[in-house]
Protein backbone atom coordinates (compact mmCIF):
# COMPACT_ATOMS: atom_id res chain seq x y z
CA UNK A 1 0.00 0.00 0.00
CA UNK A 2 0.96 3.57 0.01
CA UNK A 3 2.26 2.96 3.54
CA UNK A 4 5.91 2.94 2.66
CA UNK A 5 5.76 5.72 0.21
CA UNK A 6 3.78 7.91 2.57
CA UNK A 7 6.45 7.67 5.22
CA UNK A 8 9.25 8.37 2.81
CA UNK A 9 7.45 11.01 0.86
CA UNK A 10 5.96 12.59 3.94
CA UNK A 11 9.39 12.73 5.46
CA UNK A 12 10.68 14.56 2.44
CA UNK A 13 7.71 16.85 2.18
CA UNK A 14 7.58 17.35 5.91
CA UNK A 15 11.18 18.32 6.05
CA UNK A 16 11.08 20.59 3.05
CA UNK A 17 8.58 23.16 4.28
CA UNK A 18 10.26 23.18 7.66
CA UNK A 19 13.61 23.81 6.11
CA UNK A 20 12.07 26.30 3.73
CA UNK A 21 10.43 28.03 6.65
CA UNK A 22 13.65 28.24 8.55
CA UNK A 23 15.43 29.43 5.42
CA UNK A 24 12.97 32.24 4.98
CA UNK A 25 13.19 32.95 8.70
CA UNK A 26 9.71 31.59 9.09
CA UNK A 27 10.04 30.45 12.66
CA UNK A 28 7.11 32.69 13.37
CA UNK A 29 4.98 30.34 11.25
CA UNK A 30 5.56 27.40 13.54
CA UNK A 31 3.26 28.82 16.18
CA UNK A 32 0.54 29.37 13.63
CA UNK A 33 0.94 25.89 12.28
CA UNK A 34 0.70 24.24 15.70
CA UNK A 35 -2.86 25.48 16.06
CA UNK A 36 -3.80 24.30 12.61
CA UNK A 37 -2.32 20.88 13.18
CA UNK A 38 -5.29 19.79 15.27
CA UNK A 39 -7.76 20.77 12.59
CA UNK A 40 -5.73 18.97 9.99
CA UNK A 41 -5.86 15.79 12.01
CA UNK A 42 -9.62 16.22 12.31
CA UNK A 43 -9.86 16.24 8.53
CA UNK A 44 -9.06 12.57 8.48
CA UNK A 45 -12.21 11.89 10.42
CA UNK A 46 -14.74 11.85 7.58
CA UNK A 47 -12.89 9.19 5.61
CA UNK A 48 -11.98 7.12 8.62
CA UNK A 49 -15.52 7.21 9.98
CA UNK A 50 -16.95 6.23 6.61
CA UNK A 51 -14.54 3.35 6.29
CA UNK A 52 -14.78 2.30 9.89
CA UNK A 53 -18.54 2.09 9.86
CA UNK A 54 -19.22 0.80 6.37
CA UNK A 55 -16.19 -1.36 5.83
CA UNK A 56 -14.58 -2.01 9.18
CA UNK A 57 -17.62 -3.35 10.97
CA UNK A 58 -18.73 -5.50 8.02
CA UNK A 59 -15.18 -6.81 7.85
CA UNK A 60 -15.42 -7.85 11.48
CA UNK A 61 -18.59 -9.70 10.52
CA UNK A 62 -16.62 -11.40 7.75
CA UNK A 63 -13.74 -12.24 10.07
CA UNK A 64 -16.04 -13.80 12.63
CA UNK A 65 -17.77 -15.80 9.91
CA UNK A 66 -14.44 -17.10 8.64
CA UNK A 67 -13.88 -19.08 11.81
CA UNK A 68 -17.25 -20.81 11.77
CA UNK A 69 -17.92 -24.46 10.99
CA UNK A 70 -19.77 -25.07 7.76
CA UNK A 71 -21.27 -27.85 5.74
CA UNK A 72 -17.93 -28.83 4.23
CA UNK A 73 -15.98 -28.67 7.47
CA UNK A 74 -18.32 -29.47 10.31
CA UNK A 75 -16.80 -28.78 13.70
CA UNK A 76 -18.05 -28.01 17.16
CA UNK A 77 -16.25 -24.76 17.81
CA UNK A 78 -14.72 -21.85 15.99
CA UNK A 79 -11.21 -22.28 14.70
CA UNK A 80 -8.72 -21.81 11.92
CA UNK A 81 -9.76 -24.94 10.04
CA UNK A 82 -11.26 -23.01 7.12
CA UNK A 83 -7.94 -21.35 6.50
CA UNK A 84 -5.94 -24.55 6.73
CA UNK A 85 -8.37 -26.22 4.38
CA UNK A 86 -8.03 -23.53 1.73
CA UNK A 87 -4.26 -23.34 2.00
CA UNK A 88 -3.94 -27.11 1.81
CA UNK A 89 -5.72 -27.38 -1.53
CA UNK A 90 -3.17 -27.13 -4.33
CA UNK A 91 -5.86 -26.01 -6.75
CA UNK A 92 -6.82 -23.08 -4.55
CA UNK A 93 -3.22 -22.03 -4.18
CA UNK A 94 -3.04 -22.15 -7.95
CA UNK A 95 -6.14 -19.97 -8.24
CA UNK A 96 -4.65 -17.45 -5.82
CA UNK A 97 -1.41 -17.27 -7.79
CA UNK A 98 -3.35 -16.93 -11.02
CA UNK A 99 -5.43 -14.06 -9.65
CA UNK A 100 -2.36 -12.12 -8.57
CA UNK A 101 -0.61 -12.95 -11.82
CA UNK A 102 -3.55 -11.62 -13.86
CA UNK A 103 -3.46 -8.38 -11.91
CA UNK A 104 0.28 -7.99 -12.28
CA UNK A 105 0.45 -8.80 -15.98
CA UNK A 106 -2.51 -6.58 -16.81
CA UNK A 107 -0.94 -3.71 -14.86
CA UNK A 108 2.50 -4.17 -16.40
CA UNK A 109 0.96 -4.30 -19.87
CA UNK A 110 -1.35 -1.34 -19.42
CA UNK A 111 1.04 1.01 -17.69
CA UNK A 112 3.48 1.70 -20.55
CA UNK A 113 0.69 1.75 -23.12
CA UNK A 114 -1.24 4.26 -21.04
CA UNK A 115 1.83 6.29 -20.24
CA UNK A 116 2.77 6.65 -23.88
CA UNK A 117 -0.75 7.77 -24.72
CA UNK A 118 -0.74 10.20 -21.80
CA UNK A 119 2.48 11.73 -23.14
CA UNK A 120 1.00 12.34 -26.55
CA UNK A 121 -2.43 13.55 -25.45
CA UNK A 122 -1.24 16.95 -24.15
CA UNK A 123 -0.43 17.84 -27.74
CA UNK A 124 -4.16 18.13 -28.28
CA UNK A 125 -5.69 21.40 -27.32
CA UNK A 126 -8.90 22.70 -25.88
CA UNK A 127 -12.15 21.07 -26.81
CA UNK A 128 -10.51 18.32 -28.83
CA UNK A 129 -8.51 17.33 -25.77
CA UNK A 130 -11.64 17.23 -23.65
CA UNK A 131 -13.49 15.16 -26.22
CA UNK A 132 -10.54 12.83 -26.58
CA UNK A 133 -10.28 12.16 -22.86
CA UNK A 134 -14.02 11.85 -22.35
CA UNK A 135 -14.20 9.50 -25.29
CA UNK A 136 -11.89 7.16 -23.45
CA UNK A 137 -14.39 6.78 -20.64
CA UNK A 138 -17.29 5.79 -22.86
CA UNK A 139 -16.40 2.16 -23.33
CA UNK A 140 -16.36 1.82 -19.57
CA UNK A 141 -19.68 3.58 -19.19
CA UNK A 142 -21.22 1.14 -21.63
CA UNK A 143 -20.56 -1.39 -18.93
CA UNK A 144 -18.06 -4.23 -18.76
CA UNK A 145 -20.84 -6.70 -19.43
CA UNK A 146 -21.76 -5.40 -22.86
CA UNK A 147 -18.20 -4.72 -23.89
CA UNK A 148 -17.23 -8.25 -22.98
CA UNK A 149 -20.11 -9.49 -25.06
CA UNK A 150 -18.48 -7.51 -27.81
CA UNK A 151 -15.18 -9.23 -27.19
CA UNK A 152 -16.94 -12.60 -27.10
CA UNK A 153 -18.13 -11.82 -30.58
CA UNK A 154 -14.85 -10.42 -31.90
CA UNK A 155 -12.29 -12.81 -30.52
CA UNK A 156 -13.40 -16.33 -31.51
CA UNK A 157 -11.20 -18.01 -34.06
CA UNK A 158 -13.94 -17.87 -36.67
CA UNK A 159 -15.49 -14.61 -35.59
CA UNK A 160 -15.67 -11.37 -37.57
CA UNK A 161 -12.13 -10.32 -36.65
CA UNK A 162 -10.06 -13.42 -37.27
CA UNK A 163 -12.50 -15.34 -39.43
CA UNK A 164 -11.67 -13.54 -42.67
CA UNK A 165 -7.95 -13.83 -41.93
CA UNK A 166 -8.30 -17.56 -41.40
CA UNK A 167 -10.43 -18.01 -44.49
CA UNK A 168 -7.84 -16.24 -46.63
CA UNK A 169 -5.20 -18.51 -45.19
CA UNK A 170 -3.22 -15.71 -43.58
CA UNK A 171 -3.20 -17.22 -40.12
CA UNK A 172 -4.03 -20.47 -38.45
CA UNK A 173 -7.21 -20.31 -36.37
CA UNK A 174 -6.02 -18.57 -33.22
CA UNK A 175 -7.13 -19.88 -29.87
CA UNK A 176 -7.82 -16.77 -27.87
CA UNK A 177 -11.24 -17.16 -26.31
CA UNK A 178 -11.03 -19.46 -23.34
CA UNK A 179 -7.44 -18.55 -22.59
CA UNK A 180 -5.82 -15.96 -20.41
CA UNK A 181 -5.00 -13.97 -23.52
CA UNK A 182 -8.66 -13.09 -24.00
CA UNK A 183 -9.01 -12.12 -20.35
CA UNK A 184 -5.91 -9.94 -20.53
CA UNK A 185 -6.98 -8.24 -23.74
CA UNK A 186 -10.31 -7.27 -22.26
CA UNK A 187 -8.68 -6.25 -18.97
CA UNK A 188 -6.17 -3.99 -20.72
CA UNK A 189 -8.94 -2.43 -22.77
CA UNK A 190 -10.90 -1.81 -19.58
CA UNK A 191 -7.96 -0.43 -17.62
CA UNK A 192 -6.35 1.75 -20.26
CA UNK A 193 -8.76 4.68 -19.86
CA UNK A 194 -8.11 4.76 -16.12
CA UNK A 195 -4.38 4.64 -16.69
CA UNK A 196 -4.44 7.35 -19.33
CA UNK A 197 -6.69 9.58 -17.26
CA UNK A 198 -4.56 9.36 -14.14
CA UNK A 199 -1.24 9.72 -15.92
CA UNK A 200 -2.52 12.51 -18.12
CA UNK A 201 -3.60 14.48 -15.06
CA UNK A 202 -0.16 13.98 -13.54
CA UNK A 203 1.83 14.84 -16.63
CA UNK A 204 -0.19 17.93 -17.32
CA UNK A 205 0.64 19.23 -13.89
CA UNK A 206 4.37 19.19 -14.47
CA UNK A 207 5.24 22.87 -14.68
CA UNK A 208 6.16 23.95 -18.14
CA UNK A 209 8.99 26.07 -16.78
CA UNK A 210 10.90 22.89 -16.00
CA UNK A 211 10.84 21.90 -19.64
CA UNK A 212 11.88 25.35 -20.73
CA UNK A 213 14.70 25.28 -18.22
CA UNK A 214 15.82 21.88 -19.44
CA UNK A 215 15.75 23.05 -23.06
CA UNK A 216 17.72 26.12 -22.24
CA UNK A 217 20.30 23.85 -20.67
CA UNK A 218 20.56 22.02 -23.95
CA UNK A 219 18.57 18.88 -23.14
CA UNK A 220 16.98 17.01 -26.02
CA UNK A 221 13.51 15.44 -25.81
CA UNK A 222 14.87 12.10 -24.58
CA UNK A 223 16.84 13.75 -21.80
CA UNK A 224 13.84 15.86 -20.88
CA UNK A 225 11.79 12.75 -20.56
CA UNK A 226 14.32 10.96 -18.44
CA UNK A 227 15.11 13.80 -16.11
CA UNK A 228 11.93 15.81 -15.96
CA UNK A 229 8.86 13.89 -17.04
CA UNK A 230 9.61 10.46 -15.65
CA UNK A 231 10.72 11.41 -12.13
CA UNK A 232 7.99 13.98 -11.66
CA UNK A 233 5.29 11.61 -12.84
CA UNK A 234 6.36 8.87 -10.43
CA UNK A 235 3.62 9.61 -7.89
CA UNK A 236 1.14 9.32 -10.72
CA UNK A 237 2.68 6.05 -11.86
CA UNK A 238 2.44 4.70 -8.33
CA UNK A 239 -1.21 5.70 -8.02
CA UNK A 240 -1.96 4.21 -11.41
CA UNK A 241 -0.24 0.96 -10.55
CA UNK A 242 -2.25 0.56 -7.39
CA UNK A 243 -5.51 1.37 -9.18
CA UNK A 244 -4.77 -0.94 -12.10
CA UNK A 245 -3.63 -3.81 -9.93
CA UNK A 246 -6.73 -3.72 -7.76
CA UNK A 247 -8.96 -3.48 -10.84
CA UNK A 248 -7.22 -6.41 -12.46
CA UNK A 249 -7.03 -8.70 -9.46
CA UNK A 250 -10.67 -8.12 -8.56
CA UNK A 251 -12.16 -8.49 -12.02
CA UNK A 252 -15.08 -10.85 -12.16
CA UNK A 253 -16.80 -10.60 -15.51
CA UNK A 254 -13.71 -10.85 -17.73
CA UNK A 255 -12.41 -14.17 -16.44
CA UNK A 256 -15.93 -15.54 -16.19
CA UNK A 257 -16.99 -14.92 -19.77
CA UNK A 258 -13.73 -14.91 -21.65
CA UNK A 259 -11.52 -17.10 -19.55
CA UNK A 260 -10.79 -20.75 -19.81
CA UNK A 261 -13.52 -23.24 -19.07
CA UNK A 262 -12.06 -24.14 -15.75
CA UNK A 263 -9.68 -21.31 -14.96
CA UNK A 264 -11.12 -19.72 -11.89
CA UNK A 265 -9.91 -16.63 -10.19
CA UNK A 266 -10.21 -16.07 -6.49
CA UNK A 267 -13.07 -13.68 -7.09
CA UNK A 268 -15.08 -16.28 -9.01
CA UNK A 269 -14.19 -18.89 -6.40
CA UNK A 270 -15.45 -16.71 -3.58
CA UNK A 271 -18.52 -15.96 -5.66
CA UNK A 272 -19.05 -19.67 -6.07
CA UNK A 273 -18.84 -20.26 -2.33
CA UNK A 274 -21.37 -17.55 -1.62
CA UNK A 275 -23.76 -17.99 -4.51
CA UNK A 276 -23.73 -21.68 -5.29
CA UNK A 277 -23.05 -23.58 -2.10
CA UNK A 278 -24.02 -20.80 0.32
CA UNK A 279 -20.85 -21.42 2.26
CA UNK A 280 -20.36 -18.09 3.96
CA UNK A 281 -17.63 -19.38 6.26
CA UNK A 282 -15.29 -20.58 3.54
CA UNK A 283 -16.02 -17.54 1.41
CA UNK A 284 -15.11 -15.30 4.33
CA UNK A 285 -11.91 -17.22 4.99
CA UNK A 286 -10.95 -16.97 1.31
CA UNK A 287 -11.70 -13.25 1.37
CA UNK A 288 -9.50 -12.68 4.43
CA UNK A 289 -6.71 -14.67 2.80
CA UNK A 290 -7.06 -12.54 -0.32
CA UNK A 291 -7.02 -9.41 1.82
CA UNK A 292 -3.74 -10.42 3.42
CA UNK A 293 -2.16 -11.21 0.07
CA UNK A 294 -3.40 -7.95 -1.44
CA UNK A 295 -1.98 -5.92 1.44
CA UNK A 296 1.38 -7.60 0.89
CA UNK A 297 1.20 -6.87 -2.84
CA UNK A 298 0.33 -3.24 -2.22
CA UNK A 299 3.19 -2.88 0.22
CA UNK A 300 5.41 -4.48 -2.41
CA UNK A 301 4.35 -1.99 -5.07
CA UNK A 302 4.93 0.92 -2.73
CA UNK A 303 8.34 -0.28 -1.63
CA UNK A 304 9.25 -0.73 -5.27
CA UNK A 305 8.45 2.89 -5.95
CA UNK A 306 9.90 4.34 -2.78
CA UNK A 307 13.42 4.94 -4.08
CA UNK A 308 12.06 6.34 -7.33
CA UNK A 309 9.93 9.13 -5.93
CA UNK A 310 11.55 12.35 -4.95
CA UNK A 311 9.75 15.46 -3.78
Amino acid sequence: MAGGIEAGDALAVGLAPASRASLSGGRRWLGARAGRRDITRLLLAPSLVLLGVFLGIPLIVVLVASFQPNVLIPRDAAGFYNYTYLIAQPYYAKILVRTIWLGVVATVATLPLGYAAALILPCLRGRLANVAVMGLTFPILAGPLVVILGWMALLPAHGPLFGPLVRWGLIAPPRIIGTDAAVLISLVQFMLPFAILTLYTTIKQIPRELYEAAESLGAGPLREFRDVTLPLSMPGILSTSIILFSLGASSYISPHYLGGAADLTLTTLIGQFILATYNNALASAAAILLLIIMVLCMVGIVLLFRPLIRP
Binding site: I196, Y252, M298
Partner: protein, 261 residues
Protein backbone atom coordinates in the same frame (compact mmCIF):
# COMPACT_ATOMS: atom_id res chain seq x y z
CA UNK B 1 13.13 13.07 -37.79
CA UNK B 2 10.79 15.13 -35.70
CA UNK B 3 8.05 14.65 -38.25
CA UNK B 4 8.56 10.91 -38.11
CA UNK B 5 8.31 10.90 -34.34
CA UNK B 6 5.19 13.05 -34.47
CA UNK B 7 3.65 10.78 -37.07
CA UNK B 8 4.47 7.71 -35.03
CA UNK B 9 2.95 9.41 -32.00
CA UNK B 10 -0.34 10.12 -33.74
CA UNK B 11 -0.41 6.64 -35.22
CA UNK B 12 0.10 5.15 -31.78
CA UNK B 13 -2.61 7.29 -30.22
CA UNK B 14 -5.01 6.30 -32.96
CA UNK B 15 -4.21 2.64 -32.43
CA UNK B 16 -4.88 3.00 -28.72
CA UNK B 17 -8.22 4.64 -29.40
CA UNK B 18 -9.18 1.99 -31.92
CA UNK B 19 -8.37 -0.69 -29.36
CA UNK B 20 -10.22 0.95 -26.51
CA UNK B 21 -13.27 2.17 -28.39
CA UNK B 22 -13.41 -0.53 -31.06
CA UNK B 23 -15.50 -3.05 -29.15
CA UNK B 24 -17.95 -0.31 -28.26
CA UNK B 25 -18.31 0.67 -31.91
CA UNK B 26 -18.90 -2.97 -32.75
CA UNK B 27 -21.57 -3.23 -30.07
CA UNK B 28 -23.22 -0.03 -31.26
CA UNK B 29 -23.23 -1.33 -34.82
CA UNK B 30 -24.81 -4.58 -33.68
CA UNK B 31 -27.56 -2.62 -31.96
CA UNK B 32 -28.95 -1.80 -35.39
CA UNK B 33 -28.74 -5.40 -36.55
CA UNK B 34 -32.09 -6.83 -37.53
CA UNK B 35 -30.84 -10.33 -36.77
CA UNK B 36 -32.40 -11.73 -33.64
CA UNK B 37 -29.31 -13.08 -31.96
CA UNK B 38 -26.41 -11.17 -30.51
CA UNK B 39 -23.86 -11.47 -31.88
CA UNK B 40 -24.98 -12.41 -35.33
CA UNK B 41 -24.04 -11.78 -38.90
CA UNK B 42 -25.41 -8.50 -40.12
CA UNK B 43 -28.87 -9.02 -41.53
CA UNK B 44 -30.19 -5.53 -42.00
CA UNK B 45 -30.63 -2.16 -40.34
CA UNK B 46 -33.39 -1.58 -37.86
CA UNK B 47 -34.33 0.67 -34.95
CA UNK B 48 -36.44 -2.12 -33.55
CA UNK B 49 -34.15 -2.77 -30.61
CA UNK B 50 -34.24 0.83 -29.51
CA UNK B 51 -38.01 0.76 -29.59
CA UNK B 52 -37.86 -2.48 -27.61
CA UNK B 53 -36.17 -0.67 -24.74
CA UNK B 54 -39.31 1.39 -24.31
CA UNK B 55 -41.17 -1.80 -23.46
CA UNK B 56 -38.79 -2.34 -20.55
CA UNK B 57 -39.42 0.43 -18.05
CA UNK B 58 -37.27 -1.29 -15.48
CA UNK B 59 -34.20 -0.38 -17.55
CA UNK B 60 -35.06 3.29 -17.23
CA UNK B 61 -35.73 3.27 -13.51
CA UNK B 62 -32.59 1.21 -12.93
CA UNK B 63 -30.54 3.64 -15.02
CA UNK B 64 -31.88 6.53 -13.02
CA UNK B 65 -31.12 4.78 -9.73
CA UNK B 66 -27.61 3.99 -10.91
CA UNK B 67 -27.06 7.62 -11.84
CA UNK B 68 -28.36 8.79 -8.49
CA UNK B 69 -26.21 6.38 -6.55
CA UNK B 70 -23.16 7.23 -8.62
CA UNK B 71 -23.64 10.97 -8.22
CA UNK B 72 -24.17 10.91 -4.47
CA UNK B 73 -21.47 8.38 -3.69
CA UNK B 74 -18.91 10.08 -5.93
CA UNK B 75 -19.54 13.46 -4.35
CA UNK B 76 -19.15 12.11 -0.84
CA UNK B 77 -16.13 10.01 -1.81
CA UNK B 78 -14.34 12.88 -3.53
CA UNK B 79 -15.04 15.26 -0.66
CA UNK B 80 -13.82 12.72 1.87
CA UNK B 81 -10.80 11.98 -0.30
CA UNK B 82 -9.91 15.66 -0.45
CA UNK B 83 -10.02 16.05 3.30
CA UNK B 84 -8.09 12.84 3.84
CA UNK B 85 -5.50 13.70 1.20
CA UNK B 86 -5.06 17.13 2.69
CA UNK B 87 -4.59 15.69 6.16
CA UNK B 88 -2.09 13.12 4.92
CA UNK B 89 0.02 15.53 2.91
CA UNK B 90 -0.20 18.58 5.09
CA UNK B 91 1.49 17.10 8.07
CA UNK B 92 3.42 14.00 7.35
CA UNK B 93 4.77 12.06 10.27
CA UNK B 94 4.55 8.56 11.61
CA UNK B 95 0.86 7.74 11.28
CA UNK B 96 0.58 8.13 7.57
CA UNK B 97 1.83 4.64 6.71
CA UNK B 98 -0.95 2.94 8.61
CA UNK B 99 -3.50 5.50 7.55
CA UNK B 100 -2.79 5.17 3.87
CA UNK B 101 -3.26 1.43 4.01
CA UNK B 102 -6.48 1.87 5.94
CA UNK B 103 -7.77 4.38 3.46
CA UNK B 104 -7.15 2.01 0.56
CA UNK B 105 -8.68 -1.02 2.29
CA UNK B 106 -11.81 -1.24 0.12
CA UNK B 107 -9.53 -2.08 -2.78
CA UNK B 108 -8.27 -5.11 -0.95
CA UNK B 109 -11.52 -6.87 -0.13
CA UNK B 110 -13.55 -8.68 -2.80
CA UNK B 111 -16.56 -6.59 -3.66
CA UNK B 112 -18.98 -9.47 -3.40
CA UNK B 113 -17.87 -10.02 0.18
CA UNK B 114 -18.32 -6.32 1.00
CA UNK B 115 -21.80 -6.50 -0.44
CA UNK B 116 -22.91 -9.49 1.61
CA UNK B 117 -21.25 -8.24 4.77
CA UNK B 118 -22.97 -4.89 4.32
CA UNK B 119 -26.34 -6.61 4.02
CA UNK B 120 -25.75 -8.54 7.23
CA UNK B 121 -24.46 -5.43 8.96
CA UNK B 122 -27.40 -3.33 7.85
CA UNK B 123 -29.71 -6.07 9.05
CA UNK B 124 -28.37 -5.59 12.58
CA UNK B 125 -29.80 -2.09 12.54
CA UNK B 126 -33.10 -2.99 11.00
CA UNK B 127 -32.06 -1.58 7.67
CA UNK B 128 -31.49 -3.81 4.73
CA UNK B 129 -31.01 -3.60 1.06
CA UNK B 130 -31.90 -0.33 -0.55
CA UNK B 131 -30.66 3.08 -1.54
CA UNK B 132 -28.86 3.96 1.69
CA UNK B 133 -26.87 0.73 1.80
CA UNK B 134 -26.05 1.03 -1.88
CA UNK B 135 -24.79 4.59 -1.55
CA UNK B 136 -22.73 3.54 1.47
CA UNK B 137 -20.89 0.72 -0.28
CA UNK B 138 -20.44 2.69 -3.48
CA UNK B 139 -18.93 5.55 -1.49
CA UNK B 140 -16.37 3.42 0.28
CA UNK B 141 -15.65 1.61 -2.97
CA UNK B 142 -14.86 4.88 -4.73
CA UNK B 143 -12.97 6.49 -1.87
CA UNK B 144 -9.58 4.85 -2.54
CA UNK B 145 -9.70 5.76 -6.22
CA UNK B 146 -10.55 9.37 -5.51
CA UNK B 147 -7.89 9.47 -2.81
CA UNK B 148 -5.23 8.16 -5.19
CA UNK B 149 -6.01 10.90 -7.67
CA UNK B 150 -6.14 13.60 -5.03
CA UNK B 151 -2.83 12.47 -3.57
CA UNK B 152 -1.27 12.70 -7.01
CA UNK B 153 -2.34 16.32 -7.09
CA UNK B 154 -1.10 17.03 -3.59
CA UNK B 155 2.27 15.55 -4.48
CA UNK B 156 2.83 18.52 -6.76
CA UNK B 157 1.08 21.02 -4.55
CA UNK B 158 3.16 23.61 -2.83
CA UNK B 159 1.80 24.15 0.63
CA UNK B 160 3.68 27.43 1.03
CA UNK B 161 0.97 28.88 -1.16
CA UNK B 162 -1.47 28.05 1.60
CA UNK B 163 0.89 29.51 4.19
CA UNK B 164 1.12 32.66 2.15
CA UNK B 165 -2.62 32.89 2.02
CA UNK B 166 -2.89 32.39 5.77
CA UNK B 167 -0.29 35.05 6.35
CA UNK B 168 -2.38 37.45 4.30
CA UNK B 169 -5.21 36.89 6.75
CA UNK B 170 -7.38 34.45 4.83
CA UNK B 171 -9.15 31.71 6.80
CA UNK B 172 -8.79 28.06 5.87
CA UNK B 173 -12.04 27.82 3.96
CA UNK B 174 -11.25 30.94 1.94
CA UNK B 175 -7.79 29.60 1.24
CA UNK B 176 -9.24 26.36 0.03
CA UNK B 177 -11.71 28.15 -2.18
CA UNK B 178 -9.20 30.54 -3.68
CA UNK B 179 -5.97 28.60 -3.63
CA UNK B 180 -6.07 24.89 -2.94
CA UNK B 181 -9.21 23.71 -4.68
CA UNK B 182 -8.64 25.60 -7.93
CA UNK B 183 -5.15 24.18 -8.17
CA UNK B 184 -6.40 20.70 -7.41
CA UNK B 185 -9.41 21.02 -9.68
CA UNK B 186 -8.18 18.61 -12.39
CA UNK B 187 -7.51 15.93 -9.80
CA UNK B 188 -10.84 16.42 -8.09
CA UNK B 189 -12.75 16.27 -11.33
CA UNK B 190 -10.80 13.23 -12.45
CA UNK B 191 -11.44 11.60 -9.08
CA UNK B 192 -15.13 12.34 -9.29
CA UNK B 193 -15.28 10.96 -12.82
CA UNK B 194 -13.50 7.77 -11.78
CA UNK B 195 -15.86 7.23 -8.89
CA UNK B 196 -18.90 7.98 -11.00
CA UNK B 197 -17.97 5.61 -13.78
CA UNK B 198 -16.91 2.82 -11.46
CA UNK B 199 -20.09 3.17 -9.46
CA UNK B 200 -22.37 3.35 -12.48
CA UNK B 201 -21.10 0.13 -14.03
CA UNK B 202 -20.47 -1.80 -10.87
CA UNK B 203 -22.15 -5.16 -10.45
CA UNK B 204 -20.62 -7.20 -7.60
CA UNK B 205 -20.83 -4.60 -4.88
CA UNK B 206 -24.53 -4.00 -5.53
CA UNK B 207 -25.33 -7.68 -5.83
CA UNK B 208 -26.98 -8.23 -2.47
CA UNK B 209 -28.18 -4.74 -1.77
CA UNK B 210 -30.92 -4.24 -4.32
CA UNK B 211 -34.58 -4.75 -3.59
CA UNK B 212 -37.86 -4.48 -5.42
CA UNK B 213 -37.81 -0.70 -5.37
CA UNK B 214 -34.12 -0.08 -5.88
CA UNK B 215 -32.02 -1.80 -8.47
CA UNK B 216 -29.09 -0.75 -10.62
CA UNK B 217 -28.67 -0.88 -14.37
CA UNK B 218 -25.83 -3.44 -14.41
CA UNK B 219 -27.93 -5.72 -12.26
CA UNK B 220 -30.96 -5.45 -14.50
CA UNK B 221 -28.82 -6.17 -17.52
CA UNK B 222 -27.13 -9.10 -15.83
CA UNK B 223 -30.53 -10.51 -14.86
CA UNK B 224 -31.70 -10.06 -18.43
CA UNK B 225 -28.67 -11.82 -19.82
CA UNK B 226 -29.37 -14.95 -17.84
CA UNK B 227 -32.22 -15.89 -20.11
CA UNK B 228 -31.86 -13.74 -23.21
CA UNK B 229 -29.20 -12.08 -25.27
CA UNK B 230 -30.34 -9.94 -28.12
CA UNK B 231 -29.24 -6.69 -29.70
CA UNK B 232 -31.46 -4.80 -27.25
CA UNK B 233 -28.65 -4.94 -24.72
CA UNK B 234 -26.34 -3.38 -27.27
CA UNK B 235 -28.96 -0.69 -27.77
CA UNK B 236 -29.12 -0.03 -24.03
CA UNK B 237 -25.35 0.33 -23.84
CA UNK B 238 -25.33 2.68 -26.81
CA UNK B 239 -28.06 4.83 -25.29
CA UNK B 240 -26.08 5.09 -22.03
CA UNK B 241 -22.99 6.25 -23.90
CA UNK B 242 -24.94 8.79 -25.97
CA UNK B 243 -26.61 10.20 -22.86
CA UNK B 244 -23.22 10.43 -21.16
CA UNK B 245 -21.85 12.25 -24.16
CA UNK B 246 -24.69 14.75 -24.12
CA UNK B 247 -24.29 15.22 -20.38
CA UNK B 248 -20.59 15.93 -20.83
CA UNK B 249 -21.31 18.51 -23.50
CA UNK B 250 -23.85 20.23 -21.27
CA UNK B 251 -21.45 20.22 -18.34
CA UNK B 252 -18.73 21.67 -20.47
CA UNK B 253 -20.73 24.33 -22.21
CA UNK B 254 -22.96 25.61 -19.42
CA UNK B 255 -21.16 24.75 -16.22
CA UNK B 256 -17.67 25.10 -17.61
CA UNK B 257 -16.66 21.83 -16.08
CA UNK B 258 -14.14 20.03 -18.20
CA UNK B 259 -12.34 16.83 -17.65
CA UNK B 260 -9.17 18.49 -18.87
CA UNK B 261 -8.11 22.07 -18.65
Amino acid sequence: MRRLAAGAGWAYLTAVYVFVIGPLVFVAAESFNSARAFPAAFAGVTFHWYRAILAHPDFFSAAWTSTLIAAISSTVATAAAFTAGYALRRRGGQESALLSTLLASPLLVPQIVISLAMLQFAGLFGLGAGLLSLVAVHTIHGLPFALRLVLTGFARFNFSLEDASFSLGAGRLTTWREVTLPLLRPNLIAGFTFCFILSFVNLPISLFLTDAQTTTLPLVMFAYIESRIDPMLAAVATVVVVVAGIATLILERYLKIRLVE
